[in-house]
Amino acid sequence: MISDLNSQTVDGRATPIDSVAEDAEVVLAVNGVSKKFCRDLKRSMMYGIHDITGELLGLREQSEQLRKKEFWALNDVSFQLRRGDALGLIGKNGSGKSTLLRIIAGLIKPDKGNVEVYGRVAPLIALGAGFNPVLTGRENIYANMSILGLSKQEIDQRFDQVIDFAEVGDAIDAPVRGYSSGMAARLGFASAIHTEPDILLIDEVLAVGDIKFRAKCERKLHTLRRNGTSFVLVSHQPHAILNVCNAAIYLSKGQLMSSGDTFSIMSQYEEDLFLGDEKRTVGVMYLPEKPVSESTGIDITYLFFRDKDGNILETPITGEPCTFCVGYNSRLEVENAGVNFGIQEIGGDGDHVLRLSSFQDKEPLKILPGKHEVQVKMPYLGIKPGIYMMTANIRKDSLYMFDVVDTYRFSVISKNPMSYCSFYQPRSWEVVNK
């Protein structure tokens, strides 16, 4: 199924994306959609008036040609969405994700191709659109949900669920001006999600509120999906897409690069995003010598890993012993120095995968003048295969820092598949007679 996803049939219609149910009806078909944009403000206004005139006189057709200073914000994008599907749109900033969402929502017209939508589309792009700060939460819910297309009767029916979900409590009768940003966003999210649409368009909104509320939103999205709502989701947080979506498409500069199951598309995207053509980062970094005027007396000169025999290791391997080495050049003698480092996964959620500090480990390092190397021996490398960014620094104490490197990149590989888990556990298996 997945193998034939990238192909498009001759008539420009999209092949269906990996669906929850193959026979479920198509709720959204995007057929060869293209859109032109112009970055020049004045020119864009001129083209706008030109387009409007064309539209009014019925002259506007499919337009193949780019006018001066125009570019394709979307170029011949096709896909289909079936009932209950959750599709992630992945791509860098400016790759056309939001434009695509806006065309699907019927806000702007495509320049080529068409979009067929079956059922009610609700955008979750618009948290609290139309919220008026002077009015109370209650009044704003009515206005907001009305804009989203609900009748008074429908709002009345859902009202209690909305305030319950938004967790605003008694503040519902206070002006929204006094709400915290999280409260306002929660209220907006709750009103939008309770419109019970057939297709929900979600643009970067899962980041609202605290972690508890985010988890609640994701649960709600799962419930909606079970009940047959389809999603199109745009997010820069890979875990949001991985948690919610069963399929993904990858856009780059308006082109549909590939589509398929979320995980493989996400890996492809991350590879492209961080590596370009290089598949592996060589994890050895040498730093140029600093002039004395810029130096604090101790300079980091290199960062790399060594294997158990002491050879420089370009890519450390999950589960094998290794030693992380920080080379430095010192003109000082310091008694209780220390080294800290923190590792983050590139394209991850921003949390530290690993943080080590010689201060916390109560291992004061004695630094002597000259060239030396601090070594951190690790009997097993516990982090999973991936690409990482490390910051490393040498300090006198928590306030005074001698030198820092915050752009050391390395990749970790694995000899055995990790099966998508994020931690390597050294282990041995045995059956014991009791």
Binding site: V27, F37, S44, M45, G48, I49, D51, I52, G54, E55, L56, L57, G58, L59, R60, E61, Q62, S63, S98, R102, I103, A105, G106, L107, I108, K109, P110, D111, K112, G113, N114, V115, E116, V117, Y118, G119, R120, P123, I125, A126, A129, G130, N132, V134, L135, E139, N140, Y142, A143, S146, I147, L148, G149, S151, K152, Q153, E154, Q157, E196, D198
Partner: protein
């Protein structure tokens, strides 16, 4: 939930098919008209919500509240009364006391000028909403005109007071004055709806509108009675606002319509203009929204 509500919500979830394509909507006039009609019907409730929201917000943020509706006609009347009594301006005789004439006419003019500018303001203020949600965009225009009617209703209190104070004679024809007033508002709405997309695209529209409207007021018999001869009289007569405003004023006071023919021509112009402006508004908005950041 009752059975009725259930069946209703089920029909409400009937998937309706929408196709968005590059092709101009004008090419399918029947479908276009059907869509326009459907949107007009479905915008009723939203119009009401927006109207209530905006009026509530407006009055909650203001200490003087209703007084703002009274101040402009009173100030204008005072100014012209002073100018007239000191002979600075030479204004002909009016059919009823001049202060009442100016205050009533200014209120009418204001209603017209609001019906031009409020739709533009409303669309401009709703840019972010327009850029993010698809809703019947007619609701913005309708709620703006709702505000115009609401503001006029408040001014009516002042007008009634003034009429009683100055003992302005009225006839039974006052009952059909609202019809003429509606035509006046329709004309304003047509202009406002036509300019609304442009107004969101470029600041030039909103900037020039203020002074165009004040110049236009001078070409309309608001502070003076309709001039009889001269080039100025011709200009004033060709101004489509003149017959509509004058007829409204005449119906509300003397009951004698001086120029019914011009009134009907201007009215037909207003209605045709509104339909055309609506069409332009609808077709132009996607291109405007494209140029508004979301």
């Amino acid at each position: 939930m009752s059975r009725i509500a259930q069946s209703k919500s089920q029909t409400g979830r009937q998937p309706s098919k929408m196709v968005y394509s590059a092709e101009s909507q004008v090419k399918h006039p029947i479908r276009l008209v059907q869509l326009m009609w459907a949107d007009l019907l479905s915008s009723r409730e939203l119009t009401w919500r927006l109207l209530v929201r905006d009026i509530k917000a407006q009055y909650r943020q203001s200490m003087l509240g209703f007084v703002w509706a009274f101040i402009p006609p009173i100030v204008t009347a005072l100014g012209f009364m002073l100018a007239k009594s000191n002979g600075i301006v030479n204004i002909g005789e009016t059919n009823f006391p001049y202060p009442a004439f100016v205050m009533f006419s200014t209120a009418l003019w204001q209603t017209f000028s609001e019906s031009v500018s409020l739709p533009i303001q409303q669309v401009n203020a709703s840019k972010t909403m327009l850029a993010r949600i698809r809703f019947p965009r007619e609701a913005l225009i309708l709620s703006a005109e709702g505000q115009v009617l609401f503001n006029f209703a408040i001014k009516l209190i002042l007008i009634i007071g003034v009429f009683i104070w100055f003992r302005v004679p009225i006839t039974w024809n006052v009952l059909i004055a609202p019809v003429a007033l509606i035509h006046l508002i329709i004309l304003g709405t047509a202009i406002g709806t036509f300019l609304a997309p442009l107004g969101s695209l470029s600041n030039d529209v909103t900037k020039s509108l203020t002074f165009i409207l004040s110049f236009w007021m001078l070409l309309t018999p608001v502070v003076y009675p309709t001039p009889e001869q001269g080039i100025f009289a011709t200009i004033v007569r060709l101004n489509p606002v003149t017959p509509l405003l004058v007829t409204t004023r005449e119906l509300a006071t003397t009951g004698q319509i001086s120029d019914p023919q011009s009134f009907w021509i201007a009215s037909i112009l207003a209605y045709l203009g509104l339909i055309l402006a609506w069409l332009i508004y609808r077709l132009a908005m996607p291109f405007v929204i494209e140029r508004v950041s979301s």
